[in-house]
């Protein structure tokens, strides 16, 4: 049951530059660890994060095993109109999660 925490201001003025903060629940298993019996623990990471606003991509990231568990990513975007941010995390073992946040332009 993966959870995500998204911080997007509820309201902004047209042209404002806002900061978006995202935290996604994920182990980010590197694929470089071994169990006590010597077996490699298979890699299980989020490989891609995308943020779209009203359908248009505004930010994207490729993630590697060096990103810490429960990936925390923050970035900026310019507010142009009211609408919906959609966040998507894709990873190993078919991992695919989405989250949404709305903003109202005053």
């Amino acid at each position: 049951m993966p959870s995500a925490l998204i911080n997007v201001p509820k309201k902004a003025k047209r042209g404002d530059i806002i900061e978006i903060k995202t935290l996604m629940s994920h182990i980010m298993e590197t694929g470089y660890r071994h169990t006590a019996s010597g077996d490699v623990v298979p890699r299980d990471i989020i490989t891609s994060f995308t943020c779209r606003f009203n359908g248009t991509e505004v930010f994207r990231a490729d993630l590697f095993p060096a990103i810490a568990a429960n990936p925390f990513i923050t970035f900026f975007t310019t507010v142009t109109e009211s609408g919906k941010f959609e966040f998507e995390w894709i990873g190993d073992k078919g991992f695919s999660e989405t989250a949404q946040a709305s903003i109202t332009v005053e």
Binding site: M1, S3, A4, L5, I6, N7, K21, L23, M24, S25, I27, M28, A68, A69, N70, F72
Partner: protein, 257 residues
């Protein structure tokens, strides 16, 4: 060279006279020993990975479980109201058992007795999530564990365990956490061991973990055999630590290195 230093350090601790408890005015949360960056991680909910577990706990609180087909919320309603301040009193005396239970133990008793569901495993995501969600409702509330007079003998047992030297390093908890808390072990601050933020997110673990997990890690660190999860000894240690931290505000879910 470093091995030598370490041995010297252990020897120093061994030679310290019998432990003295930390005066109220000098009690410090583990938070105060952290770097600004780690503090920042705890300070803001969106930056605190422990909050992901709290969110999961909120979901679980409302989810029906067991053959009774009841959710926590069906009896306890809104946790933000009903659970406020509750965690501050745990571990608490459980009359039916004649001994204290910690918050995790209480949640599992609720599951078996009232939901007729199987108990969650210690350190399972579910148990961590629910205990984090419940304890978070007490954020900022002063710890008040151990006030119940029926707990007195168990607090004392916990205190004895805290003071008792054990393991290959022949150390008691007190030798670090009462006597040397202003010093460092390797690069890490030796804290006072005040359990203000459990369950908490440890960077070392890259996960949330319970106070019992922390205690077991510490016991293994002094090279003693750790008590089993759920054992009376761990609950007594928890109880003593909580009573020792009386008055300090709860920080759940805290972040620690």
């Amino acid at each position: 060279m470093k091995i030598a230093l370490c041995i010297a350090f252990v020897t120093t601790m061994a030679s310290v006279a019998f432990a003295t408890e930390i005066p109220q005015s000098e009690r410090r949360s583990g938070y105060s020993f952290m770097s600004a960056d780690t503090k920042a991680m705890q300070d803001e909910d969106t930056a605190n990975p422990g909050m992901l577990f709290v969110l999961d706990g909120e979901t679980l609180w409302k989810r029906k479980a067991g053959s009774a087909d009841k959710a926590c919320a069906d009896c306890h309603n809104d946790a933000r109201v009903s659970m406020k301040g509750i965690a501050a009193h745990y571990p608490a005396f459980e009359k039916a058992l004649g001994r204290p239970v910690d918050l995790e133990g209480r949640i599992n008793l609720c599951r078996t007795n009232h939901q007729q569901a199987s108990p969650f495993a210690y350190e399972s995501r579910e148990l961590l999530a629910l205990s984090a969600y419940v304890a978070q409702q007490s954020r900022g509330v002063p710890i008040a564990a151990g006030d119940d007079p029926e707990l007195a003998p168990f607090v004392e047992k916990g205190r004895e365990l805290f003071m008792q030297r054990q393991g290959q390093l022949n150390l008691g908890c007190t030798n670090c956490h009462d006597d040397n808390w202003d010093k460092k072990l390797a690069g890490s601050a030796i804290t006072q061991g005040q359990p203000t933020g459990y369950p908490l997110y440890r960077l070392e673990w890259q996960s949330l973990g319970s106070l019992q997990r922390r205690l077991r890690a510490c016991i293994t660190g002094i090279r003693a055999q750790a008590y089993d999860y759920g054992s009376p000894e761990l609950v007594e240690l928890e109880l003593y630590l909580k009573s020792r931290a009386r008055g300090m505000p709860i920080e759940t879910p805290a972040v620690r290195p």
